[in-house]
């Protein structure tokens, strides 16, 4: 559906073969230092992750900078080691197509999101990280920072069910406090045709560094918000809903479970940004 295709400037393959464990190992100390000092990051709950391919399902925050995604990659690769089961994140083309950032992302284990990519990666034995809410959730208004906004998207449920893998929900707070977002930009994106041209579904008014006021979200310098992440116990859709699930019921259950955890995590904040 996308009409605008950018020429490829990337040297790193877009797939599990692009993940570079040695590069990750070398980069982890610098990333760890940055996230500990700047975001005072906390990640808990990895003990819930079973030793089999799983689909991590997260709430997406922070516009195009997605600091909690980087944090999760950092935490995962230190908990399970870079030689352990690889985790591959599906990312919006805005990230994977950005020069330099795209190559960095691929070496860290991100690939461009596509209809069959996640299934291929799971079949290859990798854990896969998806954000069903995509840019709509990453650009939700600041007032909804502690809300799950999956926009009714249920593809992740069908993916996990068909692949026979468990869903491991991951919730995070703080990422949406790294910039200010004033409104829900879905209607604007649709009116301007951005949803069809660039697959950008949300174009809200934002305030971020160094751009100031801007429609939409470009990669920005995030405010130093405290980021907390919680990995939740796995959900087995086949066990809970059988071979022919009621997708609406499954969607309600997964999003409700995540909302409860996200609200509880949000309640640990004393002050937004400061944590």
């Amino acid at each position: 559906m996308a009409l605008v295709r950018l020429p490829s400037l990337h040297r790193v393959p877009d797939g599990i073969e692009g993940r570079d464990p040695e590069f990750i190992r070398r980069t982890l100390p610098r990333l760890w230092l940055a996230f500990e000092l700047y975001f005072r990051a906390e990640v808990d709950g990895f003990e819930h992750v079973p030793d089999e391919p799983v689909l991590f399902v997260g709430n997406h925050s922070g516009g195009a900078s997605v600091p909690d995604t980087w944090l999760f990659l950092l935490a995962y690769n230190t908990y399970f080691t870079v030689e352990g089961r690889p985790m591959i994140g599906l990312a919006h083309r805005i990230i994977t197509d950005t020069p330099l950032v795209g190559d960095l992302a691929r070496r860290f284990g991100m690939v461009k999101a596509g209809p069959h990519r996640a299934r291929e990666l799971l079949d290859q034995g990798a854990n896969v990280l998806v954000y069903p809410g995509g840019d709509v959730e990453a650009l939700r208004p600041t007032r909804d920072r502690n809300r799950i906004v999956f926009d009714g998207r249920k593809g992740f449920l069908k993916l996990a069910h068909d692949a026979g893998v468990k869903i491991v929900p991951v919730v995070a707070t703080g990422g949406q406090e790294t910039m200010l977002i004033f409104n829900d930009g879905r209607r604007t994106a649709k009116a301007l045709g951005f949803d069809k041209l660039l697959r950008v579904k949300s174009l809200p008014l934002t305030l971020s560094l160094p751009w100031g006021f801007l429609p939409g979200g470009l990669p920005n310098i995030p405010l130093p918000a405290k980021i907390r992440m919680q990995v939740l116990p796995p959900i087995d859709l086949r066990e809970r809903y059988g071979d022919d699930p009621d997708w609406d019921a499954a969607y309600d259950y997964v999003t409700s479970t995540m909302q409860v955890a996200l609200s509880s995590l949000g309640a640990r904040s004393i002050l937004p940004v400061l944590g």
């Binding site: 409700s256 479970t257 409860v260 609200s263 309640a267 904040s269 004393i270 937004p272």
Partner: protein, 147 residues
């Protein structure tokens, strides 16, 4: 001086079921105090109950002993020891089931700094109320009290 935080949530279950669970302190208080600690102290002859309830907020523990009064569609409490506060929980009709509303009023001492602390407390209390309401909703829609 006092400040009040109010939050509501829609629960997609019959209003009578929601009211029965919401007005049971043994169910509600553990859900609301999920981020802290709670303990049942005793029951008075008039049907009221005393509970210890604390929210853990950073390095401090906000709460104390509360006296809980229940009615058909509401539950209220007021502090008798510790942080001076009160709580009103009400269940009302909604086309999709029921609405649960929680309002917590906190009284803190001081003038300028007291005002600043109350502003902070309202935000903290609001986020705890949202977390408690989400726990209650999930418990009713998907937990033991679910369909």
């Amino acid at each position: 001086m006092a400040t009040t935080a109010t939050e509501s949530i829609v629960v997609r279950r019959p209003v009578d079921v929601v009211a029965k669970v919401t007005t049971d302190p043994g169910v509600l208080l553990p859900l609301v105090a999920g981020l802290g600690r709670f303990a049942f102290i005793g029951r008075h002859e008039d049907g009221t109950e005393e509970w210890d309830m604390f929210l853990d907020i950073g390095a401090i523990h906000v709460g104390g002993r509360v006296l809980v009064v229940t009615a058909e569609r509401s539950l209220t409490w007021r502090s008798v020891r510790g942080t001076r506060h009160s709580m009103v929980v009400e269940v009302t009709d909604h086309p999709d089931g029921a609405v649960v509303t929680m309002a917590m009023t906190v009284q803190l001492g001081g003038l300028v700094l007291g005002r600043a602390a109350e502003l902070l407390a309202r935000g903290i209390a609001g986020r705890h109320l949202v977390a408690g309401l989400e726990q209650l909703r999930h418990h009713l829609e998907f937990g033991p009290a679910g369909p």
